[in-house]
Amino acid sequence: MTHRIRDEWVKFTFIIPALLFFVLVVVFPFIRGLNIAFTNWDGIAPTYDYVGLRNLQLLFTDTELLDPIKNTLLFTVITTICINVFGLLLAVALNTKFPGVNLLKSFIFMPMVISLVLAAIIWRYIYSDIFPILFQTDGGLLGNPTTVMIGIAIICVWKEIGLAMVIYYAGLQTIPKDMYESARIDGATSYKQFTKITVPLLLPAFTYCIPLWIGTGLRQFDYPMVATKGGPGTSSQTLAMYVYNYEFPYFKAGYGQMAALVLFIFILIVTVIITSYFRRREVEY
């Protein structure tokens, strides 16, 4: 009996290191954050008061929240649609043999491995120096409050489309080739083959990709932070930047933490709904 207990304990020691790091970095800060969200703490002072749901009330009545909501949704919609549609088209187009096909794949995936900071900086100069020459425009997309979110979204699409491409490409390899053959014999056009075979059988890849980009879009922080720092003015501020600004530069940690929690719950609900929507449509074959 003591041997068994000893063995159970030895087993448990395997999980202890991971658990220690996880508790220190995720669990403990999360619980601490739950507590902070119900206070009026500025983030520095040794004392603070509990204010109940006042932060939540302030958050839902803050009209300055409307712009970050609009910006975040715009970014999410543009990037999710462009990355998935073009990523899928590229994967289908590159799913044939021709000279240089692997080289093209590595080129399109290449932006994915460089840091986002580098990507955003390079594009800042492309918008300000190169676009005026190529398209005879001035100021660039990032300098204009109405186009700045589109400009930032393009950077993200350029960088991440390769990821969608390789995921859809891997998905395409799981579809049995004879399905296309029998469809061709039945006289199905390539458009019909795409909509009737490729898309339904790629649903597991959609279930992965679409919630992934919706999730990263809704919590978007780094692209606008590096490309524009939220500017011009606050015209490219996202929800995650709103959280950051209140927690750090504005010294309203309690309020910022509540905003972070609301953002988390919102993202959780959206991704769960979308994931289950796609999962229900997956087919067995």
Binding site: K11, V25, A119, I126, I133, M225
Partner: protein
């Protein structure tokens, strides 16, 4: 009525050939064009990094007539490149080693013990995959400041490992469940301890998933911006992305030197991409597609 005459069928097969060939050529040409478009920003970065300011102003797009290597010498000095490189290498190596060590062990007991107790930890780890970093950002910063871990490489390594544990443990568990149990059972019968069984039998079998985790966590740590930005403010511990971010704020007037700094910090990751491309692409698709 439906059966076609053999000759007619032959014509049908023959006829669309030339059209298909042309459309295939057109499609390939279009794909090459798209790939060139994707490479264009890299071209701009390279060209800017080797031009003089005068030439940049005259013709931003053209390849330079004279290569200004001095941009690189200036960039290395002004951005303190080697310090940042050292910090990035240490952070990445530390995070990768720690991630593989702790995640593989934890995933092993989770995968092999389908009990309520271990499933609880599995779902606990998994729940962090959906958690936006913004929720942890401020309390983590406060905790790190109290533990004197702010602005230190070990502090950054611990944080980067912690935020990635959920996803990587999830990938490990999925893989370990496909590894047959027979080998380790006979080892246990032979009297080997659990640790010996794990390190001499299981761990070597995990090679494919270990390389996946290696490339994913290396890329994640090397390119991380958000976590490092919160936990590191001082130059001594700044990694390459942080230095780039600061540097561009300070040197917006010296574009060419700043681009030389960009190219410099891109070189290590490009070499890594050149050699590990297969594993990188295999790694990023690992969680997405089964089989």
């Amino acid at each position: 009525m439906n059966t076609t005459h053999p000759a007619a069928a032959a014509v049908q097969v023959q006829e669309p050939r030339p059209r298909r060939k042309w459309s295939q050529i057109l499609r390939v040409a279009l794909l090459y064009l798209i790939a060139i478009l994707f490479l264009f920003p890299f071209y701009i970065a390279v060209v800017y990094s080797i031009k003089t300011p005068v030439e940049t102003a005259q013709s931003p797009l053209a390849f330079p007539t004279h290569i200004a290597w001095s941009n690189y010498a200036e960039a290395i000095e002004a951005s303190n490149f080697f310090l940042a490189l050292r910090n990035s290498v240490l952070t990445t190596v530390g995070t990768v080693a720690l991630t593989i060590a702790v995640c593989s062990m934890a995933a092993y007991v989770i995968a092999r013990n389908n009990t309520r107790f271990y499933n609880f930890f599995y779902y606990l780890f998994m729940s962090s995959i959906m958690l936006p970093f913004q929720v942890l950002m401020f309390p983590l910063y406060k905790t790190w400041s109290e533990l004197s871990l702010l602005n230190t490489i070990p502090g950054l390594i611990i944080a980067l490992t912690g935020v990635q544990i959920g996803y990587f443990a999830f990938l490990y568990v999925g893989f370990i469940k496909t590894v047959p149990k027979e080998l380790e059972e006979s080892a246990v019968l032979d009297g080997a301890s659990r640790y010996r069984t794990f390190y001499s039998i299981i761990f070597p079998l995990l090679k494919p998933i270990n390389s996946t985790i290696l490339v994913l966590s290396a890329l994640g740590a090397w390119n991380d911006f958000v976590v490092s930005m919160i936990l590191v403010q001082k130059k001594e511990a700044s990694t390459l992305p942080l230095v780039q971010f600061q540097f561009f704020g300070e040197y917006t007037s010296q574009v060419n030197m700043a681009f030389a700094a960009i190219i410099l910090s891109m070189i290590p990751i490009m070499i890594f991409y050149l050699f590990a491309q297969k594993w990188i692409i295999g790694g990023v698709t690992a969680g997405a597609v089964k089989g």
